[in-house]
């Protein structure tokens, strides 16, 4: 087993990043507290960046992320709608690496909580004084009978971006004229509550251009969903007669998926799809389970004030993996939680000032080109949950100019938050 330290990064990183890391005196570094961050998404990227930035070299920060290019889930629906290129949702870690974060492209395989080491798939281990765990979500493939990793190649969940999203787009584009697209949203709680309904909107937009007689059937395991009246008003306005949303009380529970036959059976009916997206129930990313950070529901309980794991005070869990209700699981929430965790970690390791945590979230969604809507809230840390102090949501019947402005704002947000995460 190899122990990774700053001295070995030159063999792992690109030259520029390694030079930055090695440019600092080793003796000073040896005395530095070590923070390791698992997962380079909206939570992990932000946490690593803010700890490095705000500690001004006082903390040794290592980010462990297997991908060299991170494709954001947020805005992937706009790619499905044909409004943006897939490449525009990709971000590298080059800026983080030059801003004081040691970036290790490897898979965090397990956590030794007693020895405070992260074990990597390569066999190396990385010591930490504080660990930030931000692994996102994993799918509960077996939550829907017949669904599996293999079935997801025929009926993509496309809920972690990447090639699944590209696959889904190709399948929708190749549907026969007048064909049927079936969307199966997940049950609560799940990543990006308005996401399935923005996906429906963007696929409807794509079909309206390329296959206007096609239909979309939504087999929802829920009775209601985020921004429901706004989406349904928008579907009627932009895609009249195309989208049929069926709550579980009408469509019935899904009791079998046959990905080869492209059929979805419910209690009451069998639906034949020409293309489908099936998003199963979700749970915290795998390492959170291996490390014993999850509860019986598969998510990680935390202390809201600091984002520390309820199971281990040396570990902070942020983003979609943690239980941060009333905050939704979103990139914006993860970014907000990361900043609170970063402040708490710096305070614990360097004695820097710690302020009362504040959290916020806004989720923008696009119904059609230039028809943007949003929902958001501010939160404080309660004793055992995030408490919403105030909130807002777009209204039905808003004029086109406001909806266009909301869309343009979302584009600005994407630009802003990706710089806040990836530097």
């Amino acid at each position: 087993m190899t122990e990774i330290s700053r001295r070995t990064f030159s063999g792992i990183l690109g030259g520029g990043a390694a030079a930055t890391a090695l440019g600092m005196p080793f003796i000073a570094r040896a005395a530095q507290p070590k923070v390791v961050v698992i997962g380079g998404g909206a939570g992990g990227g932000t946490a690593a960046r803010y700890i490095a930035k705000d500690s001004k070299g006082g903390i040794d920060v290592t980010l462990i992320e297997p991908s060299k290019m991170y494709y954001t889930c947020f805005f992937s629906n706009l790619y499905l709608g044909g409004l943006i290129d897939y490449a525009s949702t990709g971000h590298t870690y080059a800026n983080l690496a030059t801003q004081g974060v040691g970036v290790v492209h490897d898979w965090a395989d397990n956590i030794d909580r007693d020895k405070k080491h992260v074990h990597l798939a390569s066999g190396a281990k990385v010591p930490y004084d504080r660990l930030i765990v931000s692994p996102g979500i994993d799918m509960k493939y077996d939550a829907i009978p017949g669904y599996s990793v293999e079935a997801s190649a025929k009926m993509p969940h496309a809920w972690k971006s990447g090639t699944q999203v590209q696959l889904l787009k190709a399948m929708v584009e190749n549907m026969k004229p007048g064909g049927t697209f079936v969307m199966v949203p997940p049950p609560n709680p799940f990543r990006c509550p308005p996401g399935p309904y923005e996906r429906i909107s963007m696929i409807a937009h794509l079909l309206k251009q390329k296959n206007p007689t096609a239909k979309i059937i939504v087999l929802d395991p829920k009775e209601n969903f985020s921004k429901q009246s706004l989406f349904q008003e928008g579907w009627e306005k932009h895609y009249p007669g195309m989208v049929e949303w069926l709550p579980v009380s009408i469509a019935g529970v899904i009791n079998m998926i046959d990905a080869k036959a492209m059929t979805i059976k419910t209690d009451g009916d069998t639906f034949k799809a020409d293309a489908a997206s099936v998003v199963p129930a979700q749970k915290a990313g795998g390492i959170a389970h291996k490390a014993g950070l999850t509860n019986q529901n598969g998510w990680c309980p935390i202390v809201p004030q600091t984002m520390q794991s309820a199971n281990d005070p040396n570990i902070h869990v942020i983003g979609d993996s943690c239980i941060a209700a009333e905050m939704p699981k979103s990139g914006f929430s993860a970014n907000s939680q990361a900043k609170v965790a970063a402040m708490a970690v710096r305070g614990a390791l360097t004695g820097s000032k710690v302020f009362e945590p504040r959290f916020s979230n806004t989720c923008w969604s696009l119904i059609a080109p230039n028809d943007g809507i949003k929902i958001g809230a501010a939160y404080t840390a309660g004793a055992d949950k995030m408490e919403s102090t105030n909130n807002f949501i777009s209204k039905t019947g808003e004029d086109a100019a406001l909806r266009k402005q909301t869309y343009e704002e979302s584009v600005g947000w994407y630009d802003g938050i990706t710089k806040d995460i990836f530097g």
């Binding site: 000032k353 807002f392 704002e409 979302s410 584009v411 630009d415 802003g416």
Partner: protein, 108 residues
Amino acid sequence: MAAILKLVWGLVHLITLSTASTTAVTAADREFGEYLSSQCTACHQLSGNANGIPTIVGLEPLTFVTVMQAYRRRELGNEAMQNIASTLSDDDIKSLAAYFASIKPKTE
């Protein structure tokens, strides 16, 4: 662009009318402002780049305070901004104003 012009117009209007002109921001705690600013930087870029969301770096403190108080009173009409402003006290706003005034926009 229209949104920015609308905001600028709103600023001129509000600065004329506001009683905030007597508000001192010099005593603000810059460190606290920097902490609070992390809520803003999820959208507003520290580089000064503005793309659908206006830049707030390098703003005169009085302008910043006037605008945020107007959002808090719901006199400026962006719900996300009204929402965040309603969580901020006068001291919070002054600290943010001092922090953002101290940041120089970069040209990329």
